[in-house]
């Protein structure tokens, strides 16, 4: 019984995500987030952090994995609350409109 409910749940999530992509909303949200993050200086902050990582690992030897492991956790933490709020508002609005099967 529980299994069936769970799969319905994840089914619904998958359906929502698909709708998000199909309607172009995910792309718009991505662009909005990117613009906001540049505006608030997040990108510059992280770029500065990247410089430190690169100097540490050496310019020749740094890999994508190095950057991802160093940058992603800090990146997540540095997103300002106002930006999160705004994005969440838009996502909730989308869900309210389209989260039905």
């Amino acid at each position: 019984m529980l299994k069936r409910i769970m799969s319905k749940d994840s089914q619904m999530r998958a359906a929502i995500n698909q709708k998000l992509i199909e309607m172009g909303e995910r792309e718009r949200l991505k662009e909005l987030l990117r613009a906001k993050l540049v505006e608030c200086g997040w990108k510059d902050q992280l770029k500065a952090h990247c410089k430190d990582v690169i100097r540490e690992k050496g310019l020749e030897h740094v890999t994508v994995e190095d950057l991802v492991t160093e940058v992603t956790p800090k990146g997540r933490a540095l997103v300002p609350d106002s930006v999160k709020k705004e994005l969440l508002q838009r996502i909730r609005a989308f869900l309210a409109q389209h989260a039905t099967l």
Partner: protein
């Protein structure tokens, strides 16, 4: 209650909220990854450190953050209290009043013809003492906002004089 139908009403708010948070999380991760790829490419193509110069030069052009100075380190209200000599009347005028004064003094600009007309109208009805006062009136007239009041008053004086003469 049908178990086959799944709709928003059967999902409580906490689930929707969790979903929203997950979507946000995915988007943030995308942004981070995007940055990583961008940086990595810049590193491998050799243009990542292009905008850096040596420490010394960077210090030379640092943004200045002192009171009374702009970001380049220049004094920005340095001309506020300076005085300029008018080439026409050879008077010493404050820098911020200089342009309007020059307008009146040279007889160019939008308002100077208006003043001249007004003076012609009122100059005939007042005694000659006002002629010598006209240069000093320049500064009084510099404030454009008092224009309306002065004009009306002068017009009333003209009307009164005309009426007086007709009686």
């Amino acid at each position: 209650m049908k178990m086959e139908e799944v709709s928003v009403s059967s999902l409580d708010n906490s689930k929707l909220e969790a979903l929203a948070q997950d979507i946000l999380s995915d988007l943030v991760e995308d942004a981070c990854l995007g940055l990583c790829f961008e940086v990595h490419r810049a590193v491998k193509q050799g243009y990542f450190f292009l905008d850096d110069t040596d420490q010394e030069s960077m210090r030379d052009f640092e943004i200045v953050d002192q009171p009374g100075l702009d970001v380049f380190g220049q004094v920005y209200n340095q001309w506020k209290n300076k005085e300029c000599v008018c080439p026409n009347c050879s008077r010493s005028i404050a820098a911020s009043r200089f342009a309007p004064h020059l307008e009146k003094c040279l007889g160019m600009g939008r308002n100077s013809s208006r003043i001249a007309n007004r003076r012609i109208v009122t100059g005939n009805n007042t005694n000659n003492k006002s002629e010598s006062d006209q240069e000093d009136n320049d500064d009084v007239n510099d404030n454009d906002w008092s224009y309306g009041a002065e004009k009306k008053g002068d017009a009333l004086v003209v009307l009164a004089c005309v009426k007086f003469q007709c009686d």
